[in-house]
Symmetry: D3
Subunit: 150 residues, 6 copies
């Protein structure tokens, strides 16, 4: 038998714990774009509400997107934004009661929040050639991971 070198971790025997993970990330945007987000003047609409909704939905679908993630019964997702002068930061918190942690879920949520922000402001970030010389997603990382015995 050829064991192809792709292995899902076996969590069958693990006990359920209460789990929390927090991930963050940021997107660099033009100052004018940031201004329009603040003023609610982005043509595609309410950037943060759509990005937050997208992030929550992506957190729940992480196991469908990341091949070796286990399906997890997400019990809470929170998504908050910090609108700075030249960038927009996101912080995603995910909770569950499960046999494995939710850091991939939090990271996926942060990534999708920022990708959705980008999609919402595409017309404002593109230059005349239709390129994005300035826009960039950065610093996607796990801020905190907690496991609490039940």
């Amino acid at each position: 038998m050829m064991s192809v070198n792709v292995r899902m971790v076996d969590i069958t025997g693990k006990a359920e714990s209460e789990r929390l993970a927090v991930a963050e990330g940021k997107i660099r945007l033009r100052r004018e774009t940031i201004e329009k987000i603040r003023r609610g003047e982005v043509p595609k609409g309410d950037v943060l509400a759509v990005a937050k909704t997208a992030a929550i939905m992506a957190v729940k679908k992480t196991w469908e997107i990341i091949p070796l993630c286990h399906p997890i019964p997400i019990t809470f997702v929170d998504v908050n934004f910090d609108v700075m002068e030249e960038e927009l930061r996101v912080r995603v918190e995910v909770k569950t009661t499960a046999k494995t942690g939710v850091e991939m879920e939090a990271l996926t949520g942060a990534s999708v929040a920022l990708l959705t922000v980008w999609d919402m402001v595409k017309s404002l970030e593109k230059d005349q050639e239709g390129q994005y010389p300035y826009t960039e997603i950065n610093s996607i990382r796990v801020v905190e991971k907690v496991k609490r015995q039940l």
Copy 2:
């Protein structure tokens, strides 16, 4: 009628063009993790093959993940990696013949490739408290976007 402030762009009247977009991104990893990726010694298996497969599948599902993206008949996806000493870079190229561009698809593919890399090397990147003090995804951006009249 209250027009809620969320607007999908109307592309009904646009002509189909040949479209290409290239996105890049990178993930900072410990030197030992990079070494294990190079040597094929990561416990969860072939990191780059799984990450590439995940990225291709995510590109095709972008319209399901990013709320205001249009469904697009993807005709090609390529995903390549550059394994540096302290980071792993990904470059995703997407093509289609459609009424709108595929930069969100390329960006989603790059993000999912890097998230999958993270998931594959979790056990190597975690410290003793189960935290990820070093791992970080950065520089997700659109490198090139091309539209060619048919």
Copy 3:
């Protein structure tokens, strides 16, 4: 931090209970369409079997369709129809053992059952201009919701 005003309910600390929810709804159809459903003469086929299958599948996917719904391990779905003279009624029962109720699942099942019925009889309900002057879905509501401590 700007807290965007979209909040998933945190059910992490709630105990699991046995849950049941029943939803109903109805679709008004032409008498001739109802007759064809009864006689099994609808060109697209067995309306009720397809609608029931669609409803069961939709119940399981509710968390993918309704943004702030939690993923729930559905343990039972039943879908029954009442074919009246001028309308078709559906009753969807959903059960689970979970931390939150399943009324949204039952409502989604009832809605999808009725939408599927509509799709199956489109050709019989359209008038000569291709419009649907008569067809209408009504009275989608929760009939019963039960929570039983384990």
Copy 4:
């Protein structure tokens, strides 16, 4: 060969046309709930932004939810709400250039918008026994369907 009585319509030979469909529907809510939606005081947040986002995403997924619907490259979705004294109305417009119409997509969008509204205001609509004696979705119908030769 037993031909099971379930038949997808064969649209292979049909020409592509520009298609538009508009569907409407409404949900009856308590006056106090309506007031809280107007004032932005619903605990789960911005009801209409989440419902609109959910509706757009559901329109794109209609072929996944309704078994015999063809996959269609949606080019535009618009969702608008009318907040009346005792009910909330939704109007969903869908466009495409395709071989078949988009009325099921518009109807699915309207249904999911209203289901999402319900989910957002659950805590305000439930009575002390956790039942929903008042809430009800009604009048989901196709208002207009247009086909324009290219």
Copy 5:
């Protein structure tokens, strides 16, 4: 750049053709199970209607299930069964107008039809130890593939 060895075929430059593919397969079942299918006495219900519905839905989702398949706008699916004495055969026909063929779609449809049949008759096929000594899916193959220039 390390080119990971996973390559989607680039169909961007190919012309659209009318495509048809037919796949077949069969499942071996106990004679008593076959009898119950014929008489409509299977406890889980109408085996062939559910299997056909599942197959049509799977055909449309093939690009989500098979990593390197292109998304294809399916225009027709037909699924027929032949109930023999000791086995049940399925034949799935798929059509599209697209840049690539639909044999993977037809094969996926045939596989899912047979898997669904199995799921529907599980209780009849299991022995006293809960094993399936007799049930087996066989002969999944492409019967015909046609490409017709437009």
Copy 6:
């Protein structure tokens, strides 16, 4: 009430057990194709890594593909291949802690692994008319099913 003859099994009252199921299957391929798989010379790339990734993802999605399957929190999937002279065999093992067994998940994983292999070697298996006279999937069956009281 017309009880449409489609019934999901009610597992609400069942206790959770540790579950394991193993399924197998095989695909007949040309000797030259097998040789190219062994040597890593298949143009579409690493056949077994992509097939294994696809199988793991399909196992997790079984409840979405097979209409009456319950959603199950998969805790482990393993996929192994045996490359023979004229055929390739797959063995899929699935584990969970749940109220019902995972044989449909294992069978779906085996089917999708083999379909993905087919997709990866299409260009090598097609004859000059674009037909597949030789390729065939066979012997998909449950090898073992275990239920262990917790």
